[in-house]
């Protein structure tokens, strides 16, 4: 009888340890999954945002596969989560200034969305985009940059 109790006790301890290990492992997996999910959301946004009607340049109703910079000055994007989205002009190079209605088009970066979070780790992804300037009717090279916290 005593042996049986001892065996059951040891097995109970083993199962409890197993459950604890499994809980910890699952918690890590969920954290990792959350990170991957956020990463996927950011990459999806990076590929779809240049085609957003509020940003895209169009001629006679046809999309031109470029971003109309004049639209960026009064943009109102929402529900994109805790991110910072910036569009920077990289060619031709000009003085690094944040664009506003007062200094457009003599500026280099457009802050189009910002929602801060308490998370400390920052991940930055970017992709090249074509920037259209309707005042001079020219195209310049830019970078769409998404910073997200996790």
């Amino acid at each position: 009888m005593q042996e049986t109790i001892l065996v059951i006790f040891i097995i109970t301890i083993i199962i409890a340890l197993g459950l604890f290990a499994f809980y910890k492992y699952n918690l890590n997996s969920i954290e990792k999954f959350k990170l991957e999910y956020e990463q996927l959301r950011a990459y999806t946004l990076l590929s779809t945002l240049p085609n957003h009607p509020q940003l895209q340049n169009s001629y006679l109703g046809n999309p031109e596969n470029s971003i109309d910079t004049s639209k960026l000055l009064s943009l109102n994007l929402n529900s994109l989560g805790n991110k910072e989205i910036i569009i920077k002009q990289v060619y031709p190079k000009i003085e690094d200034k944040l664009c506003s209605l007062n200094n457009y088009p003599n500026c280099s970066s457009y802050l189009i969305y910002k929602k801060e979070s308490s998370e400390k780790n920052i991940n930055i992804i970017s992709t090249p985009v074509s920037l259209y300037f309707p005042l001079t009717k020219e195209y310049r090279t830019g970078l769409l940059e998404i910073k997200w916290n996790y």
């Binding site: 499994f22 990459y43 590929s47 990289v90 090279t141």
Partner: protein
């Protein structure tokens, strides 16, 4: 009575074995069903290659688009200045090694031959035989 006790202990043993097997299976399943994150990086590189090729061709220099300048320089066989501009655009946009080809224009950084590379879809320029491609590695 003695036989019944023995049977109970054996049943308990079986239950323990099944619990251990269930744990092992759950751990194993998590490894088997694990997603490969390299696919995401591959798609990201592909997106950058396609976007960069489009952006380079669209950029305006001296009042003309680079696409038109490529046709002009391919006809005149003089692309030195354009090569430098394309190089500057690409290197200010990405940090990885690359190979850009458009007719006689060939701009590159580093060697792509022995590495994992991703090429943008090849884009022909209308009414010419020039095909534009950008390889990132």
């Amino acid at each position: 009575m003695e036989l019944l006790k023995k049977a109970q202990i054996e049943t308990l043993g079986l239950v323990v074995i099944i619990i251990i097997l269930a744990f092992a299976l759950i751990f194993a399943l998590q490894f088997i069903l694990k997603n490969d994150s390299s696919k995401l990086n591959e798609r990201y590189l592909q997106l950058n290659a396609d976007n960069l090729r489009n952006t380079v061709l669209k950029t305006t220099i001296n009042g003309n688009r680079i696409k038109d300048e490529i046709v002009f320089c391919n006809n005149n066989q003089n692309c030195d200045e354009l090569n430098l501009i394309i190089k500057e655009i690409i290197e200010s946009s990405i940090k990885s090694n690359y190979e850009f080809k458009a007719g006689i224009i060939e701009v590159k950084k580093g060697e792509c031959s022995n590495k994992n590379t991703l090429t943008s879809s090849i884009q022909p320029i209308a009414l010419t035989e020039i095909k534009v491609s950008l390889k990132l590695c």
